[in-house]
């Protein structure tokens, strides 16, 4: 069925620059970035902390406005957040006041679907991420890995053209992370969508991606564009192969090159929130 459709999710980025911060604090987080991504491709963006990879993701999601340049998906310019471009954050953003099922069905509710219909669709997607029995739970009752699975399900229920992931497994323990990577690839073979996956974990990037973009520290630019032709389905055994090690060493060299500068972490919504004092004494 999907063969008949024209694949959706082609990304076109031209001369993209993004400025963060106000006044004298302003700086270019991303500078003159050019990149095209084919529909259905799994792209990993690798780079040191604060290099602007999350900023790029935020712009793709529509949360950040570019200063110059254009950004379009399937020929349509990105002008704001849209259910067509789903975003998964490092820390889950599930609504604590909604059950797992209602969280997943949220996008469908926004589209005006009836309760029965959206619950059926939510349960279907929950089964896909392996959480059949947890539809009635509150998000706080789940483990970190399960919360991220719900988060992914909540985005996928909208059948997005782009799945944007900002270090989604970065906060999980090593074993859970490996399981989540395998699960993500499994889901991706069934729901083909373009994935842009930001990480600073070289193993993770090499294991998941069709294509690897390496970014330089601030201002963020692409310094390497690698095709990864490891056959799919991929298993954990891949990480012990010699080509894998060779590529890993290559990536390490690229990143080590820029050692010594520690930049504050950016996020897809811009700068980390300022910790301002409360205005009232309560």
């Amino acid at each position: 069925m999907s063969v008949m459709q024209t694949p959706e999710g082609r990304i076109d980025i031209r001369q993209l620059s993004i400025v963060l911060g106000q006044g004298s604090q302003a700086f270019e987080a991303v500078q003159g970035l050019d990149c095209q991504v084919e529909a259905g491709q799994f792209v990993c963006v690798l780079g040191p902390s604060g290099c602007g990879k999350s900023t790029l993701l935020g712009a793709l999601a529509g949360h950040l406005q570019p200063r110059t340049g254009t950004l379009s998906v399937d020929g349509l310019s990105v002008s704001g957040p849209s259910p067509q471009r789903g975003m998964v954050f490092q820390q889950h953003t599930l609504f604590p006041w909604r059950t797992v099922r209602d969280n997943v069905a949220f996008g469908l509710k926004m589209r005006g679907l009836g309760k029965a219909e959206r619950h059926r669709a939510a349960d279907e997607i929950l089964a896909l991420v392996g959480l059949e029995g947890f539809a009635g739970h509150w998000p706080d009752q789940l483990s970190g890995g399960m919360q991220q699975r719900v988060e992914i399900a909540r985005v996928l229920v909208n059948r997005p053209r782009l799945l944007l992931m900002d270090e989604p497994f970065g906060a999980l323990d090593a074993l859970t992370r490996l399981n989540m990577q395998a699960l993500l690839l499994d889901i991706w073979t069934r729901i083909r969508t373009t994935v842009v996956f930001v990480t600073h974990d070289i193993d993770e990037a090499l294991f998941l991606a069709d294509r690897l973009l390496v970014m330089s520290p601030r201002p963020g630019r692409i310094i390497e564009d690698l095709r990864l032709d490891f056959p799919r389905p991929r298993t954990t055994e891949l990480v012990t192969r010699p080509e894998f090690s060779r590529l890993k060493r290559h990536c390490l060299d690229l990143l080590r090159h820029e050692d010594g500068r520690q930049l504050p972490r950016l996020n897809p919504l811009g700068l980390p929130p300022e910790t301002s004092l409360p205005r009232f004494a309560l």
Binding site: A61, G62, H63, G80, P81, S82, P83, R85, G86, M87, F89, Q91, T93, F95, P96, W97, R98, F106, G107, M110, R111, F134, H137, W138, D140, Q141, L142, R154, V155, N158, P268, L269, P273, P278, F280, L282
Partner: protein, 260 residues
Amino acid sequence: MSRSFSRWLLRAASLLLCLLFWQFAANGHWDLGLVTFANVPTPLAVVQAALGLGDSGNLARHLGSSLGRVFAGYGAALSIGVALGLAIGRSKWAEDLLLPPLEVLRPIPAVAWIPLAILMFPSSELSMVFITFTGALFPILLNTVHGVEGVDRRLIASAKSLGAGRRAILLEVILPGAAPSIITGLAIGMGTSWFCLVTAEMIAGQYGIGYYTWASYTVQNYADIVVGMLLIGVLGMGSSLLIKRLGGLFTPWHRPRGKA
């Protein structure tokens, strides 16, 4: 089990001890120099006075007046406080427009409003409702603003990415996100509105628990004063408890639950 039982026992014993002290001090007309119990009624006299009030048929009238005023003033404070709080928390424009005058009015205690309120409102009834309203407004308003500003902006961003518009973000994200804080404000506001009401009733009232307490003093029914005070305490505590319980029903996710 036995541990919690012994704790309850201790609590009961503590209350009993206070009552005993009161009984001895009042009965013996203790004069401790700085403070004297000469005119303080004994607990027994208070119980008799309470029964007398119940028999006289005026209790319902006093309670009804006070409860009516609290619900009117508190209800107005709830709707206006939450609405203003949402606006101020969401929009810089509303904040700059509304917050400065509110900040000036906030430190004025409700008692200081009484003379002006009597002059401003056509009936003393309305002025008392207004005093109750000012007492409840600020805790509700400030906690709402606090709650709205505390909503994780990533949640708002996610809602936008899932197709939520302005209205949906307000109803589906901001309001439930701020709900625990709003409920705290409502519980505090309930306490302060009782406090303000009683003060207002003492000065401007006809019927009402505060009026009853003050009138008992002027006609030297000392036992009735304590009945009035205890009624105020019980009613204030009961309504705060009610708000907390209702709040818990509205925020079921906020209750601690076991891990799955």
